[in-house]
Amino acid sequence: MAQAEPLSDTASIDAVASSAVRSEWSMAWRRLRRNLAAMAGGVVLILFALCAIFADLIAPEGINTKPTLESVLENRLRPPWSSGTRVGESGEVEPAFFPFGTDDIGRDVFSRVVHGSRISLRVGFVAVLLAGAGGTILGMAAGYFGGRIDMVISRLLDVLLAFPGLLLAIVIVASLGPSLTNAMIALGVAGVPFYARVVRGSTLSAKEFGYVRAARAIGMRDTRIIVRHILPNILSPILIMSTLGLGSTIISAAGLSFLGLGASPPTPEWGLEIAQYRAVLALAPWICIFNGLALALTVLSFNMLGDGLREALDPQASAWAQ
């Protein structure tokens, strides 16, 4: 019995902590639902996500559809909302409608924008996941253990923070070699210090909470304290940062592609499409406009949702900020 006491204490501390977290999340969700801008952002993002998932079904043309000489000559640079013909999968000529117009080799811009959503969202999520995971691990280690570990990690973060994020990403891509995968890695690495700094601060604060101190006092292992008690309490800032970061990461990835450091043709990445077709901005503005709109709308939606999440998860800080 004497040995069972600490265990039952540990379980009760866990239960108290998780029920507090659960109620906080449900309150946040209620607050978020009342925020129209955030909900609008969320809806748009869901639409883009559906586009990304079902791109092959939604887009009339495939991602690597080869134009024929006839289709190039027939369909090139058709304005939005125009009709034409295309060779279908069966090899037969069929009528085609181009809601976003066509590019200089007769490809449907709508199809490319839809396929582009898959690429841009994937780049954004992977890079943010990398940055979030890396930043959280480093930040929690620095904040929780303190001392030399904190000093080493914090100085490393200071060095990384001395460089502007996009510049750091450009340096990393340049050293790894330009490609979409390396752009994701570069943006992920470049984002690590921002997450780590916030997580470290939140950890420093969270580790002083009563239940954390209690857990330490009863001899709970550090990893358990970090995972069960600190992480759930610092998830809000991570989530807010990630949502806002997704928008900026997608923009940065498009920027890297625009500079020739990301995707290469014929990948319909939005940034690359804008880079390629800015040459014809005067002649066929719709290609850049629709790719730019998709990019802007996605980023705007992430920002609106991120703002809403911040207000929902940390209403006091938001009210203070206002």
Partner: protein, 639 residues
């Protein structure tokens, strides 16, 4: 025999002193008369000091030499006729096919041969103002020893050649006063120079200056640019008299006039070399119609009119100083969008461009004239590396040739205006082998059959594999308007993956030299089969920006592969003075290259030049090897 001084720095300087002293001696003779007068003069000099006695003795020797050379020049008269016959380089020109011309007109492109003068409007020159061109290439140096491809094309207003290409693809004198005399052994060319030319620093352009420049061009200890590849056959350059040089080649060179007319061998003031040394790159002093004024790094280079200019080549309408006060090269390198935007905004008067989409747009505007220039030589083609898997297999190379839909692939680059090419030389080029035209017609079925028979099986993803390795060809995304269509075409037609990685320029050049890609987009204009030399002579493999591994490459950059049959043919043609035999050698080289399927010809080369007729007037002449002359341009902006 020539008793001139051998070529070294000391001897050139000594030669200059001797020539100067000789000149004084000759002048003294002319003033005083002959025979006895000369003896008396020597005796008088002897009285003064021992040193001066020696000086006079030297002078006498030089005087004798000059007389000897004059005698020899008379004897060689017959050779002049032979030389002109031999060196009259081109008679065949690529005529523009009616179909091609029609396609051009349909798009609004005025098609001309590469050697034609094109008036931009009525000839109504006005003095003053400035003309500006938006260059597609960077300027790295304006030192003739160090200049690279685009530095020449941007530095041409200040530097000039001994000879120049002219309309009709002929070669005429420029800084030389006449065509050279060729010695019996065909090794030495005696080149007479113009006597009225001076550098921008007022020093004379004479034989010493030419020899000085050649001394630097031949100095292997210097870091040299493209000129190094042009002077490799030169044995020596000797000063004969103040305005005559002897240029001796190591072996008989039938095409050497072309080398002298190409834009790499240009001359800077020796005084400027001495004054500025390495800094001459930023303080160029030449003989051109424009003088250097200002260089804004990565922005522009400004030249100003050389008021003393009076030695324009025969084809120039304006033989004197140029009309504009200034000529500005606006550096818009590697950014086609910026170049087109600057042209559209009127910031530059003319550009050289490579995007069909802009061509199409500007062709619709009345104040622009779009000139497409069709040149003989090599077409726009895709080099194939025969030393890298999988294109080391001739079956794969043939399959690629059969599979590609050329009409589709070239759409973005030139809209399909020029003729679709089926050979590594275009019709009209001397040495063109008509039997090789379209050796690999478009036949996707045959391409797949070849690959199937060779055991390149398709995997579940649609791509072909061999021993578990996916078949892949690759070239860097430079970017090139053809890349994307090539990828889409080849991947869907024969299941070979096309990788187009993004790489920065320095990496691209380095990797290309090491043969790290299977493909290279390239081309090259020229009047005859010698255009194959920089791409297919093994001595050029592995050099930056050159062709890479092909057939018998021994792996040593810059060193020919012993026994290579194409080397033998290309070298043989260069030393063959009989034009028909030379053409046969090129035709044979053409056959070997095509049968090896080491290239993928796409379409005839078409240079695209856009001029704003509201802003610039005159006559545009882009000779076969470029650059376009600016001698006949004038400002119409009212400057």
């Amino acid at each position: 025999m020539d008793r001139g001084k051998s070529l070294s720095r000391r001897n050139v300087l000594r030669g200059g002193a001797l020539a100067l002293a000789g000149g004084v001696g000759v002048a003294a003779l002319a003033a005083c008369g002959e025979g006895e007068v000369e003896i008396r003069e020597v005796e008088v000099e002897k009285i003064v000091t021992v040193t001066e006695v020696q000086q006079v003795e030297v002078e006498k020797v030089v005087t004798q030499e000059v007389i000897k050379e004059v005698e020899k020049a008379v004897v060689v008269e017959k050779e002049v006729v032979k030389e002109v016959e031999v060196e009259k380089v081109v008679t065949k020109i690529v005529e523009i096919e009616a179909e091609t011309a029609a396609r051009g007109l349909q798009t609004g492109v005025n098609l001309f041969r590469s050697d034609e003068s094109v008036p931009l409007g009525e000839w109504n020159p006005t003095r003053g103002g400035r003309i500006t061109w938006g260059t597609p290439g960077p300027i790295t140096s304006l030192n003739p020893v160090r200049m690279d491809q685009w530095s020449y094309r941007n530095g041409f207003p200040i530097y000039e050649n001994l000879y120049t290409w002219a309309p009709g693809n002929t070669i005429i004198p420029w800084l030389a006063s006449d065509l050279p005399e060729l010695s019996d052994d065909r090794l030495t060319r005696r080149i007479p120079l113009r006597r009225d030319v001076k550098f921008h620093d007022d020093t004379p352009f004479n034989a010493e200056a030419v020899a000085f420049n050649f001394m630097l061009f031949l100095d292997e200890s210097l870091e040299r640019g493209e000129v190094a590849g042009k002077v490799g056959d030169i044995e020596s350059v000797t000063v004969v008299d103040e305005f005559t040089i002897d240029l001796k080649t190591k072996t008989p060179q039938a095409l050497f006039m072309q080398v002298l007319a190409d834009f790499q061998i240009t001359f800077a003031s020796p005084q400027a070399y001495i004054t500025y040394r390495e800094d001459i790159a930023r303080n160029p002093v030449g003989t051109g119609a424009y003088k250097f004024k200002e260089w804004q790094e990565q922005v522009s280079v400004t030249y100003e009119r050389n008021d003393d200019y009076a030695w324009a080549p025969a084809w120039a309408t304006n033989k004197g100083a140029p009309y504009p006060d200034e000529f500005v090269v606006q550096i818009l390198a590697q950014d086609a969008v910026a170049r087109a935007a600057a042209f559209e905004a009127g910031e530059v008067d003319w550009i050289q461009h490579f995007q069909f989409i802009d061509l199409e747009r500007f062709a619709k505007q009345d104040n622009r004239i779009i000139i497409g220039r069709l040149a003989p030589g090599m077409p726009w083609f895709l080099h194939i590396n025969s030393m890298r898997w999988p294109t080391d297999d001739i079956v794969v190379r043939k399959a690629l040739n059969h599979a590609i839909n050329k009409k589709l692939v070239v759409q973005r680059g030139n809209g399909g205006i020029p003729r679709i090419a089926g050979n590594i030389l275009t019709p009209g080029t001397i040495g063109y082998n008509a039997d090789m035209e379209d050796l690999y017609p478009w036949d996707v079925g045959k391409a797949n059959q070849l690959l199937d028979d060779a055991g390149y099986a398709r995997g579940d993803d649609g791509f072909r594999y061999r021993d578990g390795q996916r078949m892949q060809v690759e070239f860097p995304n430079t970017p090139n308007p053809l890349s994307e269509l090539y990828k889409l075409d080849i991947e869907s037609s024969i299941g070979i993956f096309v990788d187009i990685p993004n790489v920065e320029f320095a990496t691209y050049i380095n990797d290309m030299a090491q043969g790290k890609y299977t493909h290279q987009w390239t081309g090259g204009g020229g009047p005859d089969g010698d255009v194959l030399y920089p791409k297919y002579h093994t001595s050029n493999y592995g050099l930056p920006g050159r062709a890479f591994a092909f057939l018998n490459y021994n792996g040593e950059p810059g060193v020919p592969t012993e026994g290579d049959p194409i080397d033998a043919l290309l070298d043989g043609a260069r030393s063959e003075f009989d034009e028909s035999k030379r053409a046969e050698m090129w035709m044979e080289a053409n056959r070997l290259i095509q049968e090896a399927a080491v290239n993928l010809p796409l379409s005839d080369a078409m240079g695209q030049w856009f001029y704003n007729r509201d802003q610039i007037g005159g006559v545009a002449l882009s000779t076969i090897h470029e650059p376009a002359t600016v001698l006949d341009f004038y400002d119409k902006k009212g400057g």
